[in-house]
């Protein structure tokens, strides 16, 4: 769908013009924003709490301290998260198991928030390759990376691809690279990273995440409802598994990581 839209937009470029305008937007009551993910990596799990700000206020997102954050696994074992820095809650001890189900519980400013996540079946990167991109891609020089994976036919799978150069921060484009196996169930699936070109000598880290459905739905609706050139017909807040009208999401995923070094040909 996105492709259709962006290609049609080509027609528009002939006659359209863009400019920044002033618009009056209402001021909103700040809402709690929860950004939390658990995965099967050994890294500590973190949950970040903040609040919304008015749309045209420059970058002020009040952090939320002194909340009670716990995650309970399906056996009833509760892990309490500690506020390691203001607004960020961490646990070193939470063990995240494949196919395990976890419940997040947050108490903040007298309100309770809940969410549930199930860690999906793990799918591994099969192989990586890089190639010269086709003509119409966003970049003309450098290489485009492709990640292959063997999709298991017995599960409905949701994936996310993240590619970054070693030593550099992850690109925020990563939310765009989500896909499912709806029409590719059981196939060897490949997905290309079209955001940044890669050049000889680059060491590239590729992260394949297998997401649970609610996390996928969150990313998917975030992408499709956030707007774009034609505008979504009815923009709205992304689908979330959080209760009590909180924004953000609680995600669960597995990670398969691989590295590749781009060689000059």
């Amino acid at each position: 769908m996105k492709t259709i839209l962006s290609l049609f937009s080509f027609i528009f470029l002939l006659v359209s013009c863009e400019d920044v305008i002033e618009i009056d937007l209402d001021s909103v009551e700040p809402k709690l924003v929860i950004e939390g993910c658990i995965n099967d990596l050994d890294d500590p799990c973190t949950i970040k709490l903040s609040k919304t700000g008015d749309y045209f206020e420059p970058g002020i997102y009040p952090i939320v301290s002194d909340a009670l954050v716990t995650i309970t696994d399906e056996n009833g074992i509760e892990t309490e998260f500690e506020e390691s820095e203001p607004g960020t809650y961490t646990s070193e001890s939470l063990e995240v198991e494949e196919l395990g189900s976890y419940t997040l519980h947050i108490q903040s400013e007298g309100e309770d928030y809940m969410a549930e996540g199930v860690v999906p079946h793990k799918v591994f990167i099969d192989s990586l390759s890089y190639d010269i991109p086709p003509l119409f891609y966003e970049f003309e020089e450098g290489y485009m990376l492709t990640c292959y994976l063997q999709d298991p036919a017995e599960y409905r799978n949701y994936y996310r691809l993240i590619v970054y150069k070693k030593g550099e921060p992850k690109s925020s484009d990563g939310m765009m690279y989500i896909f499912n196996d709806d029409f590719m169930n059981g196939n060897m699936i490949f997905m290309s990273w079209e955001s940044d070109p890669l050049f000889p000598q680059d060491t590239v880290v590729v992260e394949l995440q297998t997401l649970d459905k609610s996390t996928y739905d969150y990313y998917f609706t975030l992408n499709s409802l956030a707007g774009g050139m034609f505008g979504a017909s009815n923009p709205s807040n992304p689908e979330t598994n959080l209760s009590n009208d909180a924004l953000g999401y609680f995600g669960a995923y597995t990670v398969s990581r691989d590295t590749i070094v781009i060689l000059p040909n």
């Binding site: 305008i21 950004e35 970058g59 119409f136 939310m175 409802l225 034609f230 017909s233 709205s236």
Partner: protein, 833 residues
């Protein structure tokens, strides 16, 4: 009996006759005389009527201000004479085209009839001598004297009125049709009357003209979509020669599929169409194609910046049959071919339309028509992406006249809409296709009982085949081919509609339509739980009934004629809609999907009441009207957040349902004659939806809700060579959802939304101007140049407003306006010979 009786006779009767008529008052009304007062009993009435006959006075009417029974007994008494019927067709003397809605007026009786969609009329009168006046707007009147002693057939040809510069006075009884007819909320347009109105790219477009009328809103900038009285774009029934057209736009909606060269007439009913129409909630747009010139070979066409048109018409057998072929194609992609960039060179971007029609008169009682429309859009971006979509319709019609009062039109109609999108996914092609196909059989009777009563009745059944989607993949190892099974349904209806003149002042059309929608197998029906997961699967074998709906749709329109210049009208109509268009974008995309009613998706229902006051001024030079309406809508469809429509077998689980309401008032002032013509339209309206899943069921403004909508259209005949025109539109911005807050997820700024459609786009306005220069005008050859500028003062109307992080300072967010079309000039050359 203390009732007052009014007897109207032709001619002026002197006061001194008072005693001869039982002391009735004698009043003169124009050239007629009215005898009025209390008549003791039937016997004395009989005496008076005998006296009238003996004096050789022509009786026009007898009205008694009591119940109908008496009235009927009187009229049967009066008209003991035999009755005969005059019938026939009215057509244009130059081209042989049937003239739709021309008036046949009986001067002696001050009554008349109008021709139907095929130019046929039938009028039944008592034996006698009459002057029949045939008239049609833009044509010279013709009068014939008839000594009616037997049934007669008169086929009449009217000559177009010569247009004289100083006085474009076309005297016609039809001029006050808006007052006389028992129909309201209707718009009639003939393409030749709107040629001068400036349009974008110089592409004359009937739908863009409709958008300039009150109660009709345009879609987004430049779009040929339209919204009638708060209804959705899919709630308009668009029929071309009886065949429904599913996708009425080309090229993202910038052009409508109707090539105005091939269009003869159109009518738009804003929600209270007669019972013969049905299937959509908010309007019926009935478009009739030209029949083709049955007198001689003729050609017309135009060359524009974006497209060219050519129309050929000719007789098959002179005066007995003709055909027309009309084509149009855009050629924007031809310019791309000149590009040195291989990508652009291999880009296709065009659409075409082809209209074809043939008619043949077998004899006085039988005519057949065959018409077809083929339209296609193609867009191909090298080998990476392609789309292809279009409509095909075909209609075979047979007009038959039983006796001379009963007219039957039988239609066999085919309609097909389909699209195909090709993607290149990593080297191999994937084709997605979807569509809808109809076979439709219609029998429409029209029974011209007498000058006061006309009956319409008929049946119709459509067999729909929906193809929700199919994916064909070249490389099955990577992408699986998928096929969503076809769905089938019968949409049937039976109707009856009676138009009756209860008195000279009170006219009524009322009717009832029964519609039925039955889905048949083979089919697989899913039931869902609250999480949209399938909980039950039911399968149906071929021909088995899956589900069925039946709805009674009553319709009524009343017209009370206050005087010759003004009338008050009221109407009520119920409409049901069984097909629903799913569209997930604000732009008209070919991928919008038609789905049928099912167990989950209930038929949409609208009830509309409307009230109007119509008044003409200065001998019908000015037409004015005020209408108010209230519409209640049931089972309206919206989407869950992030709904997936394309290739989703669970598409029904993505929908949410609720109610709608729309109300408003429409003002209209039109100047019909003179050097300066045009109109001013103003609509004040509100359109809202309430859906449980959206904002807790609170009423929210529908996207196309426009509080104010103003259109001013003017055309000025400067001299024989130059015709100038201008139109100005203004409307309240559409209702949109803007973010109120923002937050961050993974370092991205994410907008936080509050209420659905809680904000407004800035108000929309623009001025278009045009000028037509007639180069040559002879009897056989005509050519002109049309110049126009769209949005001449270059107002930046937002097509969309999006929100993003500032490029230099990601902590700041800004609103970005995308605007299209500022000052778009165009020139078109038109010819006709």
């Amino acid at each position: 009996m203390k009732d007052i009786t009014k007897i109207k006779v032709q001619g002026l009767l002197d006061e001194k006759w008072k005693d001869w008529f039982d002391g009735l008052d004698i009043i003169h009304e124009g050239k007629n005389t009215i005898l009025t007062g209390n008549i003791k009993d039937e016997a004395s009435l009989h005496g008076i009527l005998n006296m009238i006959r003996d004096l050789n006075l022509k009786l026009i009417s007898v009205t008694k201000l009591i119940g109908l029974l008496v009235l009927i007994s009187i009229s049967s008494l009066v008209s003991a004479q035999q009755k005969f019927t005059v019938s026939g067709h009215v057509s244009c003397a130059e081209t042989g085209e049937a003239l739709i809605g021309s008036t046949i007026y009986v001067e002696e009786l001050q009554t008349g009839t109008i021709t139907n969609l095929y130019g046929f009329y039938s009028i039944t009168l008592p034996e006698g001598t009459y002057s029949l006046l045939y008239s049609y707007i833009g044509y010279q009147d013709e009068i014939i004297q008839v000594d009616l002693k037997e049934n007669k057939i008169f086929n009449f040809e009217l000559n177009p009125a010569p247009i004289e510069m100083d006085e474009v006075v076309i005297r016609s009884e039809a001029a006050d049709k808006n007052i006389q007819e028992a129909e309201m909320s209707i718009v009639k347009i003939s393409p030749k009357n709107i040629k001068a109105i400036p349009v974008i790219f110089g592409e004359q477009d009937i739908i863009k003209t409709l958008q300039l009328l009150p109660g009709v809103n345009a879609g987004s900038e430049g779009s040929s979509g339209f919204y009638v009285r708060g209804g959705g774009a899919d709630q308009n029934l668009i029929i071309l020669d009886e065949a429904p057209v599913y996708s009425a736009s080309h090229l993202l909606g910038f052009f409508s599929v109707f090539n105005s060269d091939a269009v003869k007439d159109l009518e738009l009913y804003k929600g209270n169409a007669p019972a013969s129409y049905g299937g959509r909630l908010s309007s019926v747009l009935d478009i009739q194609m030209k029949d083709g010139n049955s007198k001689r070979f003729s050609t017309s066409g135009g060359i524009g910046l974006l497209s060219s048109r050519l129309t050929i018409e000719a007789p098959i057998v002179k005066d007995n049959g003709s055909f027309i072929i009309s084509g149009r194609r855009t050629y924007a992609d031809m310019f791309l071919k000149l590009s040195s960039d291989p990508l652009k060179k291999n880009t296709k971007l065009y659409f075409y339309d082809l209209n074809a029609k043939a008619n043949y008169k077998l004899n006085e009682k039988n005519r057949i028509f065959l018409s077809g429309y083929f339209g296609n859009d193609a867009f191909k971006f090298d080998d990476f992406f392609s789309t292809d979509w279009g409509n095909k319709t075909g209609t075979l019609r047979w007009n038959h006249v039983f006796g001379n009062k009963l007219f039957l039109n039988s239609s066999l109609i085919f309609s097909n809409y389909e699209y195909e999108i090709g993607y290149n996914v990593s080297g191999s092609m994937i084709n997605i296709s979807s569509g809808i196909r109809d076979w439709n059989l219609k029998e429409d009777f029209q029974y011209f009982i007498n000058t006061k009563n006309t009956l319409k009745f008929g049946v119709n059944s459509i067999y729909h085949t929906f193809s929700p989607g199919e994916i064909e993949s070249e490389d099955e190892d990577y992408f699986n081919s998928t096929f969503l099974s076809k769905k089938h349904a019968f949409e049937s209806a039976a109707y009856i509609s009676h138009s009756v003149d209860l008195s000279n002042r009170f006219k009524m059309t009322y009717g009832l339509r029964y519609s039925n929608f039955t889905s048949v197998g083979p089919d697989t029906v899913y039931s869902y739980n609250d999480n949209d997961e399938i909980i039950d699967v039911e399968t149906f074998s071929k021909g088995e009934v899956v589900n069925t709906y039946g709805i009674l749709e009553p319709r009524i329109t009343l017209n009370f004629i206050v005087d010759r210049q003004s009338s008050i009208k009221a109407s009520y109509a119920r409409n049901a809609q069984y097909l629903h268009l799913l569209s997930n974008s604000s732009t008209a995309l070919p991928t919008d999907l038609w789905i049928s009613s099912s167990k989950i998706v209930k038929p949409q229902i609208a009830d509309q009441i409307a009230l109007g006051y119509f008044r003409n001024f200065k001998d019908n030079m000015f037409e004015t009207s005020v209408e108010i309406y209230y519409k209640k809508l049931q089972n309206q469809i919206d989407y869950q957040n992030g709904a997936e429509i394309i290739m989703n077998k669970k598409v029904e689980s993505q929908l949410v349902f609720g109610d709608g309401r729309a109300y408003g008032t429409e003002l209209f002032i039109k100047k019909r004659t003179g050097k300066l013509t045009g109109w001013v339209g103003y609509t004040l309206s509100k359109t809202e939806r309430s859906i449980d899943e959206i904002d807790d069921g609170d009423w929210y403004p529908a996207k196309h809700d426009r509080t104010h909508d103003i259109s001013i259209v003017t055309m000025y005949q400067l001299n024989e060579k130059w015709n100038l025109s201008a139109s100005w539109v203004y409307n309240t911005g559409i209702a949109v959802t803007f973010p109120s807050g923002k937050y961050q997820i993974e370092g991205n700024t994410v907008p936080a939304y509050t209420n659905r459609n809680g904000y407004r786009m800035p108000d929309y306005h623009r001025l278009d101007v045009g000028a037509t220069y007639t180069i040559k005008k002879r009897k056989r050859f005509e050519s002109s140049l049309n110049f126009s500028v769209y949005n001449i003062y270059g107002h930046r109307n937002p097509y969309s407003i999006s929100f993003r992080e500032n490029e230099n300072d990601p902590t700041r967010t800004e609103a970005v306006r995308l605007s299209l079309f500022q000052m778009v000039p165009a020139v078109t050359y038109n010819f006709k010979f």
